[in-house]
Amino acid sequence: MHPAKSVIYFTTASGAGYGLMIWLALLAAFGQGPHRLFGVAGFGVAFFLIISGLLSSTAHLGRPERAWRALSQWRSSWLSREGVLAILTFMPAGVFAFFWVVLGVNGGLILVVGLLAAVLSLLTVYTTSMIYASLKTIPAWSNSWTSINYLLMALISGGILALMLLQVFGVEYGAVVPASVVLLCALGAMAKLAYWRTIDVSPARSTAQSATGLGQFGKVHMVESPHSEDNYLLKEMGFSIARKHANALRRVALLCGFVLPMALVAAIGTVGPVMAMALLFVAVLFGAPGLTVERWLFFAEAKHVVTLYYGQSDV
């Protein structure tokens, strides 16, 4: 699949934003804060990521001015559900942020609101993942690892951001938070490895034989394309990346997106605050591109069954 910048940014940024939102709610639930500055920064970053992500996703639309119509089909469409949930999430998240940051209130009903925001955030990320996971046409996506990865990635990126902000604003956070992030990174790495293994070894769901129904005559391959230049289908769905490059990029994604942040976060407990800040900063510095590469690969490595009509033998 064509790795469109807007979609890569949308899924990674909004994922991180919702992840951060979840962390903020959990921190609050476990008795943190309210901390005004940290709050401004935390919610600011979270909202910025979510909103910029959503805006970026509309850049992918041919008719962004009609985007509002996308709310109508929540009964059947995951994209619609995502839109609805994204909007729904803003309500408790906004109220929560307002109380926490502006009014400095925590606990009680606000906690419930915060947790609601966290749950909705999680659900929103899930709906995003389901947009992809529901597409049978793309076996690399339509498996259970897709949602697991999306959710873990949101929590990891949000967690690292939360840690960094906690550190920047000098908020005490104890050992549970970094430990959880380390654990999530480890889980994330494992899930990613499992995902890659799945897509590498899963038998093809469809083949050029089933796509054409000509299997009875032998192995099928295209000899004349309907058009000599690339058409929309090929530009959108025909993207492919060489195994060699994909493997290299997988290593980059794994290292920068999971292993390095994990090590760095694990190390912060053993160093002073300045050094910890530096380590977290480095974690973000590597984590962000690492996760972007991961997301880029998520698209680039995914094969669409329509390519069976254009020379692929199995997908």
């Binding site: 109508s72 929540w74 000899v223």
Partner: protein, 1001 residues
């Protein structure tokens, strides 16, 4: 529309939008197939074009090209104004001029020539469908240097058939699609009968009882759906056909009864080597041929009604040693050299396959006879109570004709059709009116006019039957610029357009003054050796003057050729003019009957352009040509449509056969009818007349048909047409070469004439292969027509070029493996003449010694108003660059055209190449790459986006929410080939498409 984001806006579709303000019929000219179309016009723009269901040619279907006519009309490459060259030839620098200036200049140039030496006007037309008109014009002008493009197209097929059966596979006949049980297709990618072949194949395969065999080095297109594909090695079909004949002879699976009656097989041939009439037919005092009557044991007139002729055996008749011509035929093809085993290696067809094909042919022809219970009377007055058919049919085209041995191969296939007794019989191969013609037709080509300012004493083209009719001077040198009808290419019936530029530039045989061309892209895809041809266009003498002093050209588009000409007369598109697809030319007849058709202007031209035919009549009037002007007045002031209705070629015979006579009651022959054109338009722009059932078959000897044909003016006499398996006319040339008669070839050509003028088909290795080195150039390279493109003119079409804007070289996977090339690699394709670069595509459906590519996709940069980075110019390539115009000099140093030695047919498919992988720095673009042509003068850049139709979109229905949708017509199931499917599927109603003939109303 609702703005509540949670409700779904429901769409109401207008199921019955108005389609058109007006629907007009005309004849498509996106190719030469002549299909009938219905053009739906809305706001004076074309809304939709569909096939005319009533039309005999296409019966409602429309091919890809035809459907894309909208975009042809919309082409940004259309010429808009007459142009006069101001820069050097090829620079593309022109100034726009007014028509008056253009016509004055043209008539000055032409008038000067006519006054001095009319033959110095060389008038060659290309893909036009008005050759009977342009040829007549040339006659009136007085130049014998006229022809259309047929010489480089398929003259081998035309000549092969016309000199054998009086008709040819090509456009002069068609298989009996509805009845044939065994159909063999030789070397066809698409052909002129584009839609009829597809319709026919679809029906034939759907019927299910017939077998379809494709003989072609490549398995694409039609060949892909064949029951059996025979991947013959190019240039060897002759051997394959001979081996089939060998088998049939050995097994006596020959329709002797048919041959006895309808062919010259039993005619007695003088067998006295060395005599001046050796090999000619023995004739009686009246000139009638003789046969040996086995019952009467003496020679009798071959035309007698009741004969029992011998097919073999030497006899002495009138003191001459004679044998039936069939004995020569049998002797030749029974020889071991033509046994399946002997030809298997060369043809690449296993001997057992050849034996099986021969057995299948024999089985179907002789054991699966078709009988139509319809009485008919033959030319000898004998009544037959039924029509018996041998349901085997062939069709063939350029795959066998575009080789230097093509004439003989084409003749061989026509002969095979006759040996099987399946010529114009039920299930066989059938003639289309006005064919069959006498063998060969009686018109002879006229030589140079005797007096300047006078017309020729006949048509410039015709049929030669003996050396004395050649157009040569006392030294045996050609009188024609293209050397057609000379000792070099004696039966060049269609002229040799592919030699004109070279000969004119070299002054060989003489220099010319004006070259006048129409509708032929000679500076690119219709020439061999493009760069050589461009040099001929621009060659100058010592004084710096062009060797071809003046070039006038009519094109409709900014083709590669326009920049090389001096005066451009911009033509209209086919949707903007009158045209006439005449019985005098290449009509729309089918086996069922005669037909002709017209084009009418559908839309107004958007430029200052004029229909070429109008221009030609105008020039004729200005020049005062007979038939076009009288007392300084134009005879056809109304232009071509005036000519179509009022011109008479002979008494009562005009361009259009339908609705002649004052009241339109006459067909074929009759006085001009002032309402004729109106009647054509009322009838969908065509006229047809089915033959009566008793005239449908055996037309060569069916008295009912022959009388009808004579009445219609297709035949001058209602006499039977006897197949010339053994061709005496060819023997006359051989005798001349052997030193007999007054007209003898110059020494240089003697050997060649003796070799190739064999009265029976022979096979020889195509010249390029014979002259070249097998090891050096091991592969055959072919081009094929894509079904969706017409030569060069499809590439300006926004829709068609999306399908193919660059071509690849198709190569067998195993061959590619040996060469170490994979898909999309760039390779050099090199012949003895040069090299061209392209990308490869690996396939398995191709002969392993053959590579092929699509024809005429490669374009010159700047032409056709395509952008400079268009794939056509950067990735697309032409094989033409590496096809030599001439063969290597022979032993005496004589240089012949790269053509068939009998007919002068261009040998496009003789090309031999080697393939080498390009260095990586050479990859990515084609070569040779010519300088970019400048933009079309006065043109605007082609648009970046085309939104055709946005303004024709039906407006929204404006239906209120919740309102019930319009009640709409019911749909009806449409079954492709319903009739043929109904014959196999129980309970499927018969009919056509969604029309049901029985049962449901």
């Amino acid at each position: 529309m609702s703005v509540n984001p949670f409700t779904t806006a429901k769409e109401e579709v207008d199921l019955s939008p108005a389609v058109a303000d007006e629907v007009k019929t005309t004849t498509c000219y996106m190719c030469a197939c002549r299909c009938g179309i219905k053009v739906h016009l809305k706001n004076k723009k074309i809304r939709y074009i569909e096939g005319n269901p009533e039309h005999p040619v296409n019966q409602g279907v429309l091919c890809a090209k035809g459907s894309a006519a909208i975009m042809q009309q919309n082409s940004p490459a259309k010429l808009k104004k007459p142009l006069l060259r101001v820069g050097e030839r090829g620079s593309g620098e022109f100034k726009e001029i007014e028509w008056e200036e253009a016509l004055a200049l043209a008539s000055k140039w032409l008038g000067d020539v006519r006054k001095t030496d009319p033959g110095k006007l060389v008038f060659f037309t290309g893909r036009d469908q008005s050759q009977s008109f342009t040829g007549w014009w040339a006659t009136q002008f007085g130049t014998h240097n006229f022809a259309a493009h047929g010489g480089f197209c398929s003259v081998n097929m035309a000549a092969g058939g016309l000199y054998t059966l009086g008709g040819a596979f090509w456009e002069f006949g068609e298989p009996d699609w509805d009845l044939t049980k065994y159909f063999m297709l030789f070397g066809v990618a698409e052909d002129h009968d584009s839609n009829p072949i597809k319709i026919g194949l679809g029906k034939l395969k759907t019927r299910g009882e017939a077998k379809f065999v494709a003989v072609n080095p490549s398995r694409n297109g039609y060949n892909a759906i064949a029951d059996e594909w025979i991947g013959v090695r190019p240039g060897t079909d002759g051997l394959f056909i001979f081996a089939i004949i060998h088998e049939l002879l050995r097994a006596e699976k020959i329709d002797f009864a048919s041959l006895a009656r309808y062919s010259n097989a039993p005619w007695l041939v003088i067998d006295e080597p060395g005599k001046s009439d050796h090999g000619l037919f023995l004739r009686d005092a009246t000139g009638a041929p003789l046969v040996w009557d086995v019952a009467k044991k003496r020679a009798v007139n071959a035309n007698d009604a009741e004969i029992a002729p011998a097919f073999a055996g030497k006899h002495k008749v009138n003191k001459r040693n004679v044998v039936p011509s069939f004995q020569h035929l049998a002797n030749r093809y029974l020889a071991d050299e033509f046994s399946p085993d002997a030809v298997a290696q060369t043809t690449g067809i296993p001997a057992k396959t050849i034996r099986r094909i021969a057995a299948e042919l024999a089985h179907v022809a002789f054991e699966e006879e078709i009988v139509i219970e319809h009485p008919w009377v033959d030319a000898w007055g004998r009544k037959h109570d039924k029509m018996v058919g041998r349901p085997v049919s062939f069709h063939a085209m350029r795959g066998i004709s575009a080789h230097s041995n093509g004439f003989h191969t084409c003749r061989a296939l026509h002969i095979l059709q006759a040996l099987l007794g399946s010529v114009d019989v039920p299930g066989g191969w059938r003639y289309k009116a006005p064919f069959p013609k006498p063998i060969p037709p009686r018109a002879r080509p006229a030589g140079p006019t005797q007096k300047p300012g006078e017309p020729l004493n006949g048509p410039p083209l015709g049929f030669i039957t003996e050396p004395s009719q050649l157009l040569v001077d006392e030294n045996g040198a050609s009188q024609r610029i293209d050397k057609a009808f000379s000792w070099e290419y004696p039966l060049a019936l269609h002229g040799m357009m592919h030699t004109v530029l070279r000969n004119a530039a070299l002054g060989d045989p003489y220099p010319v003054d004006v070259l006048f061309m129409y509708m032929a892209n000679m500076a690119w895809n219709s020439s061999m050796d493009v760069s050589g041809t461009l040099e001929h266009f621009t060659a100058k003498d010592e004084s710096g003057a062009y060797k071809i002093p003046k070039i006038i050209y009519s094109d409709a588009f900014w083709s590669e050729t326009v920049p090389y000409c001096d005066l451009i007369l911009p033509d209209t598109t086919f949707l903007e003019r009158w045209d006439c697809i005449s019985m005098l030319d290449r009509p729309i007849s089918s086996a069922h009957g005669a037909g002709d058709s017209i084009r009418q202007p559908i839309i107004k031209p958007d430029g200052d352009v004029q229909p070429f035919q109008d221009v030609l009549l105008d020039l004729g009037a200005r020049l005062g040509l007979p038939g076009m002007a009288k007392d300084g007045e134009a005879i056809y002031p109304g232009g071509y449509v005036d000519y179509m209705a009022n011109h008479e070629r002979g008494p009562g015979i005009g361009p259009l056969a339908g609705w002649r006579g004052k009241g339109g009651q006459d067909h074929g022959v009759g006085a001009p009818n002032p309402d004729q054109i109106e009647r054509y338009i009322e009838n969908g722009c065509f006229w047809t007349q089915d033959l009566a059932p008793e005239q449908q078959y055996f037309k060569y000897a069916n008295q009912g048909y022959l009388d009808h044909a004579a009445k219609m003016g297709w035949l001058d006499r209602p006499e039977p047409i006897i197949f010339q398996l053994y061709n005496e006319d060819l023997q006359k040339f051989r005798l001349a070469a052997q030193g007999h008669g007054n007209a003898q070839p110059p020494e240089a050509h003697r050997q060649r004439i003796e070799t190739y003028f064999d009265p029976l088909p022979l096979w020889y290795m195509p010249f390029e292969e014979a002259q070249g080195d097998d090891k050096e150039y091991p592969l055959h390279a072919l081009s094929q027509r894509p079904m969706h493109m017409y030569h060069s003119w499809g590439s300006q079409n926004a829709w068609l070029r999306q399908i193919t804007s660059s071509n690849k070289l198709h190569i067998h996977t195993d061959t590619a493996g040996e060469l170490g090339v994979v898909d999309d690699d760039w390779v050099w394709i090199e012949s003895r003449h040069g090299r061209v670069k392209g990308q490869v595509k690996l396939i398995t459906g191709v002969n392993q010694q053959t590579v092929w590519t699509w024809n005429a996709i490669g374009k010159r940069k700047g032409a056709w108003n395509l952008s400079k980075d268009a794939p056509e110019a950067n990735k697309g390539f032409l094989l033409n660059h590496i096809i030599a115009q001439v063969l290597a000099p022979d032993k005496e140093g004589h240089v012949y055209s790269n053509s068939d030695p009998v007919t002068g047919q261009a040998a496009w498919f003789d090309l031999r190449v080697k393939i080498t992988k390009c260095a990586s720095a050479e990859s990515g673009f084609t070569e040779p790459m010519f300088e970019r042509l400048p933009a079309l003068p006065g043109s605007t850049a082609a648009p970046d986006v085309s939104r055709y139709g946005s303004d024709l979109k039906p407006p929204p229905t404006g239906m209120a929410a919740g309102e019930k949708p319009l009640k709409s017509a019911q749909t009806r199931d449409w079954i492709g080939n319903r009739h043929e499917n109904a014959s196999n599927i129980a309970a499927l109603p018969d009919g056509k498409g969604n029309k049901i003939t029985k049962g449901i109303p």
